[in-house]
């Protein structure tokens, strides 16, 4: 909704645009009144807390609060959302939900072990390559190639990072 309704300072009613009177007191306090009834009562110094039809009175005498409180409590209980998403179908989600803790841990450990093995493999390969290069350089006996070989992969690595 585009229009903004304000609240009457006296009665608590909604003031729609185009209605109401705004009274600015000398101490810069602004009062909004829904109609001349509220304005008149305010100027005659009647207290809204004593007039049965105002929002202040209702709040003070606790009218209509029980219904609100009951409503709030009902909304808090929620069921676990069971619907299939793009990444995983309903069965996959349910399976994952009902998995036991031990099963999950075992799966996690297995995955970690796999990764470790993979890293080890690549390291070994690298070492083997280095050893080969060293052996080759020794055979040819050129000092230039030895410093070049370690530099080569580094440069490539530097460019790749950027």
């Amino acid at each position: 909704m585009v229009l903004k309704t304000e609240l009457c300072r006296f009665s608590g009613a909604k003031i729609y645009p185009g209605k109401g009177i705004r009274f600015v007191r000398s101490d810069s306090q602004v009062f909004l009144f829904a109609n001349s009834k509220c304005k008149r009562y305010f100027h005659n110094r009647l207290r809204p807390a004593k007039l049965t039809w105002t929002a202040m009175y209702r709040k003070q005498h606790k009218k209509d609060i029980h219904a609100e409180a009951v409503k709030k409590r009902r909304r808090t209980t929620r069921k676990p959302y069971s619907r299939s998403i793009v990444g995983a179908t309903l069965e996959v989600i349910q399976k994952k939900r009902t998995e036991k803790a031990e099963v999950r841990d075992a799966a996690r450990e297995a995955a970690l072990r796999e990764i470790k093995e993979r890293i080890k493999k690549t390291k070994d390969e690298k070492k083997a390559k280095k050893a080969e290069l060293m052996a080759k350089s020794q055979k040819t006996q050129t000092k230039g190639s030895v410093p070049k070989a370690p530099k080569g992969p580094k440069l490539g690595g530097g460019g790749g990072k950027r």
Binding site: G18, K19, R22, R25, S26, D27, R45
Partner: protein, 137 residues
């Protein structure tokens, strides 16, 4: 703050009217004057309203001020007890009648403005007064 007692209920419910000749207004800037009496409302057959300019005579002034008693000055009405309609349909009214002294070009003589001041001044091109105001209602 003086609240009206029982016997002035009638005065609170009366219809407030324009600012015309002989109307006493409060001065809310530091130009030196304290009370001012309207002698002419420029624009308006019946009288001046919120945001209008008036010609006034200084009735009461502070001893050391920019204006002296008996001087004829121009003023802009910044607070009026008579309600003024706004373009969105609502009405605004203040507690008292107050004025800010200006020169013929419309620039305020004083350097400070006290109390709330309405939006209507923007439309009337009294932007300087708005910038000096402490509260815009």
């Amino acid at each position: 703050m003086a609240q009206p007692s029982c016997n002035t209920i009638f005065s609170q419910q009366q219809q407030r009217t324009f600012i015309q000749m002989r109307t006493n207004l409060k001065v809310v800037d530091n130009s030196g004057a304290k009370r001012v009496m309207c002698i002419q409302a420029l624009k308006g057959r019946k009288g001046a309203r919120l945001g209008d300019t008036i010609i006034a005579s200084v009735k009461e002034a502070q001893p050391k001020g920019k204006v002296k008693k008996g001087e004829v000055v121009y003023g802009v009405v910044v607070r009026a007890a008579m309600q003024r309609g706004r373009c969105d349909g609502s009405e605004i009214k203040f507690d008292d009648n107050a004025v800010v002294l200006v020169n013929k070009q419309g620039e305020p003589i004083g350097t400070r403005v006290f109390g709330p001041v309405p939006h209507e001044l923007r439309k009337k091109k009294h932007v300087k007064i708005l910038t000096l105001a402490e509260h815009i209602a």
